[in-house]
Symmetry: C2
Subunit: 113 residues, 2 copies
Amino acid sequence: MELALIFKTLGDDIRLRILGLLMGGELCVCDIESVLGISQVNVSRHLARMKSTGILTSRKNAQWVYYSVNRTFMETHPVLLDSLIVEFKKLPGNKSDMKKLAVVKRNKSENQC
Amino acid sequence: MELALIFKTLGDDIRLRILGLLMGGELCVCDIESVLGISQVNVSRHLARMKSTGILTSRKNAQWVYYSVNRTFMETHPVLLDSLIVEFKKLPGNKSDMKKLAVVKRNKSENQC
DNA sequence: GATTTATATTAGTATATTCTTATATATGAA
DNA sequence: TTCATATATAAGAATATACTAATATAAATC
């Protein structure tokens, strides 16, 4: 996992917001889509890119794909990850994303996205 | 200073190597050029980019321009900077760059680059 | 003033990235 | 089997990036 590639991958607003959301635990694509208000294709492509860099992993359950921060990444770059947590807290849009996530999760019933 | 822009700027091997060198203190363009073995134009453009992002500053002395890590950047993102130090130490080429820098500095006489 | 040295900028090409639209796949439900 | 939902991939256009070669600027020296 190349450092430059990691930074290149992190160097995008949408991907940073996605990572910020996933820091709180795994989410399915449609949740991320709802929170960010971005098209499914767009979210999917950004997720794929972060996964191919090794920052994220995914697991499939029924028709949903759940993405989460890759454990290997966390273990290989613990200090970088800590600094990301610090930086995320400083981001202006972070709070509203987290609020929106809470709303999306609350309004979500079983067998639905 | 946008976080995504910072990462985007860091997302390049040459720029990471330059930053690694400048962590040890200011250097003129020709020193960086010698250490990295990269063309002057190339080094200059990467430096300009990092400066415009706010990661570096420069001062001019006689015909030389000395670049260094921007103090404001260090003060605004201390934890990120710490993580960079940790990551740099893990980079495979870092040691050889530092050695090369020592050689370049030693072989350098007054009024010469 | 002419020349050399250090650095920056411009022009042009090749490649990468991002977005939108359309389409494909895969699972579950009717 | 057909339909609806969740996700991924492909195609095409617009923009950004990186590199090389050539040129410009600016200071120092002769």
